[in-house]
C-alpha cells in the first residue's frame, strides 16, 4: 500500500488538527495545543499563523462563521480527519511494534 504523501504529520500539525475537532480561533488553538501537549508544545503567533494558512491550502481545515469579526474561527474538514486518523494509526503501529520488540 502506498502511503499518503502528507504523512507523517509534524507534531505541531497533529496537535492543531486534534485541537480543531472543535471550532476554535487562533489564540484558542495555541492554548489547546499547549494543554494537549502538557505544556511541551508552545506555538508562537507567527508559526501558528503560517501553519493555519498551510492547512487551509491543503483543505485539512476550513474557516467557519464567527460572531467575533476580528477573529476567524476554524474547524477540521473530513479530509483533515482522514489524515489525522491515518497518522494516528501510523503512530499506533510504532507503539505496538516498539512494545513487542523492547
Amino acid at each position: 500500500m502506498k502511503r499518503d504523501k502528507h504523512l507523517p504529520l509534524t507534531e505541531t500539525v497533529y496537535y492543531i488538527l486534534l485541537a480543531l475537532l472543535e471550532p476554535a480561533h487562533g489564540y484558542v488553538i495555541m492554548q489547546k495545543v499547549e494543554d494537549l501537549s502538557d505544556g511541551e508544545v508552545r506555538m508562537a503567533a507567527g508559526t501558528l499563523y503560517g501553519a493555519i494558512e498551510n492547512l487551509l491550502k491543503l483543505k485539512f481545515i476550513q474557516s467557519v462563521q464567527s460572531e467575533d469579526s476580528r477573529r476567524k474561527v476554524y474547524i477540521i474538514t473530513n479530509e483533515g480527519k482522514r489524515i489525522l486518523r491515518l497518522d494516528f494509526e501510523r503512530i499506533n503501529h510504532l507503539i505496538k511494534i516498539t512494545e513487542n520488540n523492547w
Binding site: G26, Y27, A44, A45, G46, T47, Y49, R71, K72
Partner: protein, 203 residues
C-alpha cells in the same frame, strides 16, 4: 524622526530597531522610510514577519492573533508585506516564531514577492523593445541620438555649447529604456538574496 534604510535581512533589521528603542526611539510607521518618536529608552523586542493580505478582515484577524498572544502590531499595512511587532507583556515568549521552518518561511514569501515584481516588468520591457523606436544601433553610434541639424559639422566653442546642451536629452532619448532591464536585474538580485536568507535560516 525619519530615517531611510533598506534591509533584505529581517534579523539585521530587528537588531537595528531594538538598538533604536534602546536609544529612546520607538518605531511608529514604516513606508519607504522608518518613522520614530521619542520614547523612554527600553529593552524592547521588535520582531518582523512578512505577510500580505487579500482582505481587511484577513489583516485584522492576523493582527488580533498576535495581540492575543502579547505582541503589539506597531507598523505595517494590509499590503506592505513587512509587519512589525512589539513585545508588550512579559508573559509572552521572546519570539513570534517557535520553530525554524516558520522563521525561514518569511524569507520565502519575501523572495516570491520580489520575483513577481521582477517578472511584472518583463512585458513592459518587451513592449518597449518591440514597439518603441528604441535605437539599438545608438549603443554603438551615440551620434544618432543628437538631432541638432549640422551639429557634427560645427567646430570650436559653438560646437561644444550645442553639444553639451543636447547631451542630457540625447541620454534620455537613448538610454531611458535601460531603466527597465536595470530594475528587473535589481529585483532579481533582491529575490535571490531573500532566497539565500531562506536557505541560511533553514540550515
Amino acid at each position: 524622526m525619519k530615517k531611510f534604510r533598506f534591509y533584505l535581512d529581517f534579523e539585521k533589521e530587528e537588531i537595528w530597531l531594538n538598538e533604536m528603542a534602546r536609544q529612546g526611539w520607538g518605531l511608529t510607521r514604516k513606508s519607504l522610510w522608518y518613522e520614530f518618536r521619542k520614547v523612554v529608552p527600553n529593552d524592547a523586542t521588535i520582531k518582523i514577519d512578512y505577510h500580505t493580505f487579500k482582505t481587511k478582515n484577513d489583516f485584522e484577524d492576523y493582527c488580533t492573533l498576535f495581540e492575543d498572544s502579547g505582541w503589539e502590531h506597531i507598523a505595517g499595512t494590509k499590503t506592505s508585506g513587512t509587519q512589525y511587532f512589539y513585545k508588550s507583556s512579559s508573559s509572552s515568549d521572546g519570539d513570534i516564531f517557535s520553530d525554524i521552518p516558520s522563521k525561514a518561511a518569511r524569507y520565502k514569501r519575501l523572495s516570491k514577492v520580489w520575483l513577481s515584481i521582477a517578472i511584472s516588468y518583463f512585458p513592459i520591457s518587451v513592449a518597449l523593445v518591440s514597439t518603441n523606436p528604441i535605437n539599438i544601433s545608438a549603443l554603438v553610434n551615440p551620434k544618432l541620438l543628437y538631432y541638432t541639424p549640422g551639429l557634427w559639422d560645427k567646430t570650436g566653442s559653438y560646437f561644444l555649447r550645442a553639444f553639451l546642451i543636447e547631451t542630457p536629452f540625447a541620454i534620455m532619448r537613448g538610454f531611458t529604456w535601460l531603466l527597465f532591464p536595470a530594475l528587473i536585474i535589481l529585483y532579481l538580485i533582491f529575490a535571490v538574496k531573500a532566497e539565500k536568507n531562506y536557505r541560511k535560516t533553514n540550515g
